[in-house]
Symmetry: C2
Subunit: 435 residues, 2 copies
């Protein structure tokens, strides 16, 4: 009996490092083998698997919710925070949206095989650049059972095998959802090893994931700063970094005041817990005296606490004082730091110094100023006269996404099915040799 | 006086690890600052810099050749192999082609700012995906002075700062060429820190390059397997891997015999030292008896030594015996390993087991068989009825390249100016907030 077999679903065990590396190498080998089959799978087969998984989730709602109840009991006994409990919670509605999410992924176009570019050369050679799967993707994420289905489904759609390592508090919920994903794969005649759950909650399993470049092609970490830093320090496998979203809204001297108020309030308060929520408001000194009090009142009325620099507090004395740490804090809460800056140059400099290359927005009616901001702010997403809360693959029209990458390599911005692919060159000739 | 200043061009020093890390951090900071300026530089300014560098190379031919003579003397005294001496050697013709290469890069289109995709959404938001520079690129390469100009020029064209670490035997030649690149940058009003040479031949400098993710965005290693493996093991910075080219030519049962001969001979013998040179010939068992003797004779006549498996030697007894190591050996010489395989499935399996995901070719008149090979061989470049020696950015119509990437992330195949860019999303609205 292997360790993997010995882990009973009711007792996710802590095991020794050596055991873990054996288990993980086995997982890696199985995923690699499944990836080779999945890479050649038809769009039809993958979509049958996704729809079958959705059906299995609906058919198995009871055991999935039972598994979730077990996770919830343990989490409550451990005294987990309410916001984390809420992320962990599944109910009939949430489970239905997990199933519907898988069907929505099935409805997306298959990126694999898409011809990205096509040309020929004077010697008659025909060239195509064609999308291919990436291979095996390791995903490390929080205790959110819905991510198990989303991430597994997106990887499957793009022809990749996935190794999923969700937060330990969601272990049984994730396992139950993976059972449904496996039912879908079986239904389509695809290998169940295409979606594998790390079979232990031992943290050593994460280290193993990060050091198996022979089995894993890319790691997608989702989570807080400490997880991301650990992954970036330890990983021998390439990483699609999903850093925090230190998003800025800059109100320029040429801002339309009504748009400024609407965008500042929406960017911060629509949902404070998403990575595209604004964390810092920058206001042009040239209009701060007239604009900032009005914007501050609207934010306060919406329930937002403000922390300002000296110049901001001189205009809105009710603000708390911001210290340097505030400029680099992702509150994910109804708190906003506020700085007065010297025009667009000051805004670009502030974002360059403190931003996380995620999403930033300028509010201005001056197109030249807007274009400078768009060109010079080095972030995955830069907006003009729109809320930072549009930082979302669905809002981009890309469909579901695993997250927003803040790195510059391969995937930047929303990571959806296309970003989970690679490509290769196909060259067709009729006997050409090189002179 | 810093260590960097203290390194006289006549005596590239070995220095202590600590000194090196101080020097390298300084190099990294300067490159990062230059990259921010370069990212906003106009196409005109970059092209003026490239043409100015070409002019400076021509104007300074004498000091560059003097520096090269010093490197050559030292290399000969060290007893360097003739093939390596030849790579190191500059003369008037080679220097002219280095200068012309920089002008050819100037003639390429500027990738930065190119709109890769554009769309809008029902809410009126307009989206653009626009190419941006990657940032700072560290390039570790052999003692080839021409690569200093090619790599520096390509990085500059794509708006990136480059940190160049060539083989220590070419230190003075590279430094003299970098002086010319700096003259071009100065001429264009661009920061000379945009192209920096690692100012020491100490191997600790390579370790420093690999562990400065805060200053370097990607490492491009060129060289033998041991360098690539060291880089992949040590690097905390993403790597565009340029593994060896274990390229295959597969002669299918439906191969046109004339094409088979021409492609096999060209793929191996046109130039044996390039990464796109074939290293293994696979022959379909169904036609081996008629085809292999003819192909083997043509290869032998062209001066190629053959090492065959048992079945191949049964047909061509003059072949040496191949052992298992031959299937994974990049000879870069007039040697070819030969295996008889069971049709296209056997060829795909052999390449999957032994290939390096670089470049592989099938010779067949059967389109279905060809398409299966193109789809199932997991290599950067897969050809039908054409020589593997077309694995070259110039032959693809992409212009100059740093090398052929065998990785699946970001850059795969020829790495030219486009592959040295990233992208970002620009979103233009008129006050949109997210419901």
């Amino acid at each position: 009996m292997t360790l993997a077999d010995s882990i009973d679903a009711s007792t996710a065990t802590q095991s020794t490092g050596e055991d873990v590396s054996v288990v993980m190498a086995d997982i890696g080998r199985r995923a690699r083998a499944a990836a080779a089959i999945l890479a050649q799978a038809s769009s039809e087969a993958k979509d049958i698997a996704l729809r079958g998984a959705a059906a299995a989730i609906r058919a198995n709602a009871e055991p999935i919710l039972d598994a979730n109840a077990r996770d919830l009991d343990a989490a409550k006994a451990k005294g987990l925070r309410d916001s984390l409990i809420d992320r962990l919670l599944l109910d009939a509605d949430r489970l239905e949206s997990v199933a519907a999410g898988l069907e929505a992924i099935a409805d997306l176009p298959d990126p694999v095989g898409t011809v990205m570019a096509e040309w020929s050369r004077p010697n008659g050679l025909g060239f195509q650049r064609v999308r291919t799967p990436l291979g095996v993707i390791g995903i490390i994420y929080e205790a959110r059972p819905n991510v198990t289905a989303d991430a597994g489904g997106l990887c499957l759609k793009a022809g990749n095998a996935a190794i999923l390592r969700g937060g330990s508090e969601s272990f049984h919920s994730s396992r139950a959802i993976i059972d449904a994903l496996h039912a879908g794969l079986r239904n389509a005649g695809l290998p169940v090893d295409a979606i594998l759950q790390v079979p232990t909650t031992d943290r050593a399993a994460v280290s193993a994931l990060l050091t198996m470049p022979e089995y894993i092609d890319v790691i997608v970490p989702r989570g807080g700063r400490s997880l991301i830093e650990r992954v970036q320090n330890e990983s021998r496998v390439p990483v699609f970094a999903h850093l925090e979203g230190l998003c800025h809204v800059y109100l320029d001297r040429a801002a339309d005041p009504d748009k400024a108020v609407a965008i500042a309030v929406n960017a911060k308060m629509r949902r404070t817990s998403v990575c595209g929520a604004a964390e810092t408001l920058l206001v042009d000194r040239a209009v701060a005296a007239e604009l900032l009090p009005r914007v501050a009142t609207a934010l306060s009325d919406a329930g937002c606490a403000l922390r300002g620099d000296e110049a901001a507090r001189a205009l809105v004395p009710s603000m708390d004082a911001a210290n340097e740490e505030d400029w680099s804090t992702e509150y994910l809460d109804a708190i906003l730091s506020v700085a007065v800056v010297d025009g667009v140059d000051g805004a670009i400099a502030h974002i360059g110094r403190w931003g996380s290359h995620h999403t930033d927005s300028i509010v201005t009616e001056n197109t030249d100023t807007a274009e400078r901001f768009l060109a010079e702010v080095d972030s995955a997403i830069v907006l003009h006269n729109a809320s930072t809360q549009f930082a979302d693959g669905g809002e981009f029209g890309m469909g579901a996404e695993i997250g927003i990458s803040t790195g510059r390599l391969h995937a930047r911005g929303p990571v959806g099915t296309e970003q989970l692919t690679s490509f290769k060159y196909l060259v067709r000739g009729n006997g050409q040799t090189r002179p």
